[in-house]
Every structure is written in structure tokens, then in C-alpha cells.
């Protein structure tokens, strides 16, 4: 009974597991806090862009520069081929991530 390598309570598997669980919760907490701090302070870039949008009277984000109807999505043609149906896959891959503008979708509900 004397010379046993008694398992210290801290090395008990369940305790390690609970500790890891705590660490995970903590990290998730840190993630949320980081997000909210960044959201409050890190707006300089966004404001700068909003300023540019106002100044240049831009209407769209410059995400998909591959074709004109993907560059300015909100200004797209009303009747361009394959673009007037909600499930259109007119232009892969941009068209696979994007849908046609809401207005066009509304006009074409009867096609569904």
C-alpha cells in the first residue's frame, strides 16, 4: 500500500477532459469577444470603403470581375440569357455562389 504510484487526482482522465472542455469554452468565449471588439473598433476600412462608394456612386462590390453581369450584380440585365431564373447557373463558378438579384427573381416568380 505504501509504494504505489498513486494516480494524482489532477492526472485523472476525467479531470483532463473537463479541463480541456473548459479551455474550449474559454476559447469560444474569446472568439465571441474578439469578434465583438473587432466589430466595434475595426470599422475604419469599412468606413473608408463606404466613403468611396458615396463619392464614386458605386453600386456593387468588386468580387467577381470575370464578366460584366457578375461585376455589377445589382445592375444586371433584366433579360440576359440564363440570368432570369432563380436556379440559373449562368456563369460558373460565380453563378453558383450568387443568385440573380432579388428584383429579377420577383419578376420571374411565375417561371418557378
Amino acid at each position: 500500500m505504501d509504494n504505489h504510484k498513486m494516480i494524482p487526482d489532477s492526472a485523472r482522465k476525467s479531470n483532463i477532459c473537463m479541463a480541456l472542455f473548459g479551455v474550449c469554452l474559454l476559447l469560444l468565449g474569446v472568439m465571441f469577444i474578439h469578434a465583438s471588439i473587432q466589430r466595434r473598433t475595426g470599422n475604419a476600412g469599412t468606413e473608408h470603403m463606404a466613403g468611396l462608394v458615396k463619392n464614386l456612386e458605386l453600386t456593387d462590390l468588386c468580387l467577381f470581375t470575370e464578366a460584366r453581369y457578375t461585376r455589377n450584380l445589382s445592375q444586371a440585365d433584366l433579360h440576359s440569357a440564363f440570368q432570369d431564373h432563380p436556379s440559373s447557373l449562368e456563369h460558373f463558378p460565380a453563378g453558383s455562389v450568387t443568385g440573380p438579384p432579388a428584383g429579377i427573381r420577383r419578376i420571374n416568380v411565375k417561371l418557378d
Binding site: 476525467s14 474550449c24 470599422n43 468611396l52 462608394v53 463619392n55
Partner: protein
């Protein structure tokens, strides 16, 4: 009470020992699971943050853009439309915009040429977006040569480069003077690309839009809300191929997990029998299985989600860039402001942790109620 806690801790001890003996299986499960959460989480963070970013940026977009349609496509608008729009009651101002696309064969990419209303560049000078500058390695005072509508080359000197922080809206922009624009595209002085209008009362925006399309039946007004909403649907992560792919991944994962978790081997059934024979209750056995499922799924969920957060907000979702980029040559380099929708995190949690835990627990139920005496005959 302390008894109960001690009991659960002991059961947890056993669960962990039990998990550790199938290290390879459980680690691969954990990795695949984390990967699924990572992809789903990245898509979720990315789309949520982009939606928010788009709405913050585009809240400064023109209140209303009026296009002219000809043969079902938009065409330059005659400038005399301006006066007719201004005369509508409630319209404060109407101005024309000049912009268009130019395909640059040297770079193989599309540029958006635009004439700014305030401080346009001098003749022969241009201001370019950082995407163009990066793509063609341009600096101030470099000269660019573009082929105009009539085949004549025009030389432009780079006067300035738009800041890199604004790439998300300006990467492919090329600001140019009005005279150069008209010369280059051959646009008649009596026409413009489209018209932007402001109204006195936001509430009347739609009424006025309707009035405009009555007055000028070949026009199509696009109001700001529609622009913002466009980006809501663009980043609607429930739509699109990405989601189809993800659901396929998810589905195969569920099948994989089900098979791994539910295929209670003869050995596992034997163990359950032994535990029951030495005095474990059915509920204790089920607790083991529940912990097993919960441990793997919870830790995978956390790992996947944290990695997704890092991926989207620290590396600007570099893994998604190829998918979003397609074959466009100019892709903006941008930082996304973190934004987490707790509701979606909860949904993701429920979609990942609950099914897996259930897939682990449910099949063990049958085994957990076997008669303990079966162990005597193993």
C-alpha cells in the same frame, strides 16, 4: 449528490480509456468531423460577415439608379431624360453616370472604367484600383495603352492608385476623365451610362421609381435596397453549389459516422454485457456511449469552429478565394471584419453535435438492454 458526481466522473474515466484504445479510429473521426465543421463554419462566418460588410458599405450607394433598356439590355440613356426625371415631384437631383467595361487583353482581365463626378483625373491621366496595379505591376507615372472603340490606341498615365484597403469595392476600377471616356468608347455627348437620382423623402422612393418607369417606359430604376438585397442573396449560404457540395460532404460524413458509431462490433456488445454483469445499469452503459459521442463531437465542433474563425477572419478565407474568384484575374485582397451570428453558431452546433451523439447512442440502446446472463455464455 457528491456520489452522483463521483459516479459520472468514474464513468467518464472509463469512457476516455475506452476511446483511447481505438486511437486511430477516433482521431480520424475527430479530424474528419473537425473538417466538416470547419468547412461549414467557414462558409457560415464568411457569408454572414460579407453580408454585413456589404450592407455597411452599400448603405452609401446611390439611392436610385435609372437604366435604360433597349432590346432587353441596358443601353446608354439620352441626357434629355435628366430634365424629365428632375421635374418629377420629390426628386431633388438627377445626374448622369459614365462607366463601362474594358477587357484588357494584356492582362486578360476586365476593368471597370468610370468617370468620377468629383475631382476627375485630368485628360490623359487615370487613377487605378489596387487590383489592376497589382496585376499589371503598375506604379505612378507608368503609361498604359488601351485600344479604343475605333481601333486607335490611347495612352494613359497612372496618376494615382486607390488604396489597398478599399479593394473590395475598387480593385478593378479605372477612373478617367469624361472627355477621355467618351473618346475611348465612342459615346455620344448626348448620352450617358445611366442616371442616379436622389429623392426628398425616402418613403417615397418606390412611388417615385414607379412614376419614373411610367413616365419613361424604357427605363428600369434600381433602388438602393435592391442593391443591398442582391448581396444578401449573393451571400446566402443556403443557396448555391457550395452548399450542395457541403451537404454532400455532410451526408457522406453522416453515413461514415453512422457506420463507425453504430456498427457495434461483437467485441463492443460483449463489453456491454460484461459491464451489465458486474453491476452496471443500462443507464450507465448508455451514459458511456453518450459521453463518447459528446466528447468527439464537442471537441471536433470547437476545433472546427475556431479554425474556421481563424480561416475567415485572419486569412481572409484564403481557401474559398479560388471558388469565388473563378477565372477572374483581378480578385480583391480584403480583410473581413469579424461578425458572428450566435443563432447560426447554435444551429451549427445542433446540426453537428446532436446527430453524431444520437448516432452513437441509439444503436447502443439495443445492446444496453441485453440480459446480463448472456455474458455467462460468451
Amino acid at each position: 449528490m457528491s456520489n452522483l458526481i463521483e459516479k459520472q466522473r468514474s464513468i467518464l474515466d472509463f469512457t476516455l480509456s475506452s476511446l483511447m484504445r481505438r486511437k486511430a479510429k477516433n482521431i480520424s473521426l475527430f479530424l474528419v468531423y473537425s473538417l466538416v465543421v470547419f468547412v461549414l463554419g467557414s462558409a457560415m462566418f464568411f457569408t454572414q460577415a460579407m453580408k454585413r460588410e456589404a450592407s455597411l458599405i452599400l448603405k452609401e450607394a446611390p439611392e436610385m439608379v435609372i437604366q435604360r433598356l433597349l432590346c432587353g439590355r441596358y443601353e446608354p440613356v439620352p441626357l434629355d431624360y435628366l430634365e424629365r426625371i428632375k421635374n418629377i415631384r420629390g426628386v431633388i437631383s438627377a445626374d448622369y453616370r459614365l462607366w463601362g467595361y474594358y477587357y484588357d487583353p494584356a492582362a486578360g482581365s476586365n476593368y471597370t472604367l468610370m468617370v468620377p463626378r468629383n475631382n476627375p483625373p485630368a485628360r490623359g491621366k487615370i487613377v487605378i484600383g489596387n487590383g489592376i496595379a497589382r496585376n499589371r505591376m503598375l506604379y505612378r507615372e507608368d503609361i498604359l495603352s488601351f485600344r479604343g472603340y475605333n481601333g486607335i490606341n490611347h495612352n494613359f498615365e497612372v496618376d494615382d492608385i486607390l488604396s489597398s484597403e478599399s479593394e473590395l469595392v475598387s480593385a478593378d476600377l479605372m477612373l478617367i476623365s469624361e472627355e477621355d471616356f467618351r473618346d475611348f468608347f465612342g459615346l455620344s455627348p448626348a448620352a450617358a451610362t445611366d442616371i442616379v437620382a436622389t429623392v426628398r423623402n425616402q418613403k417615397e422612393l418606390i412611388t417615385i421609381a414607379n412614376k419614373i418607369s411610367e413616365l419613361l417606359p424604357d427605363t428600369r430604376p434600381v433602388i438602393r435596397d435592391e442593391m443591398i438585397r442582391t448581396y444578401d442573396s449573393v451571400f446566402d449560404w443556403r443557396g448555391g453549389i457550395l452548399i450542395v457540395l457541403i451537404s454532400m460532404a455532410m451526408l457522406s460524413f453522416v453515413i461514415f459516422a453512422w457506420e463507425k458509431a453504430s456498427g457495434l462490433s461483437a467485441e463492443e456488445r460483449r463489453e456491454i454485457g460484461i459491464l451489465k454483469a458486474i453491476g452496471w445499469e443500462t443507464s450507465d452503459v448508455i451514459a458511456v456511449k453518450t459521453y463518447e459521442g459528446a466528447i468527439i463531437s464537442f471537441f471536433s465542433f470547437c476545433t472546427g469552429l475556431l479554425l474556421a474563425y481563424g480561416h475567415v477572419f485572419f486569412t481572409s478565407a484564403f481557401l474559398f478565394a479560388p471558388a469565388l474568384k473563378g477565372w477572374s484575374v483581378i480578385y480583391p485582397d480584403f480583410r473581413i471584419t469579424p461578425y458572428i451570428d450566435p443563432y447560426q453558431v447554435v444551429v451549427l452546433f445542433l446540426l453537428t453535435v446532436v446527430p453524431y451523439t444520437a448516432a452513437t447512442v441509439v444503436p447502443s440502446w439495443r445492446s444496453a438492454i441485453i440480459d446480463p446472463d448472456s455474458v455467462m455464455r460468451l
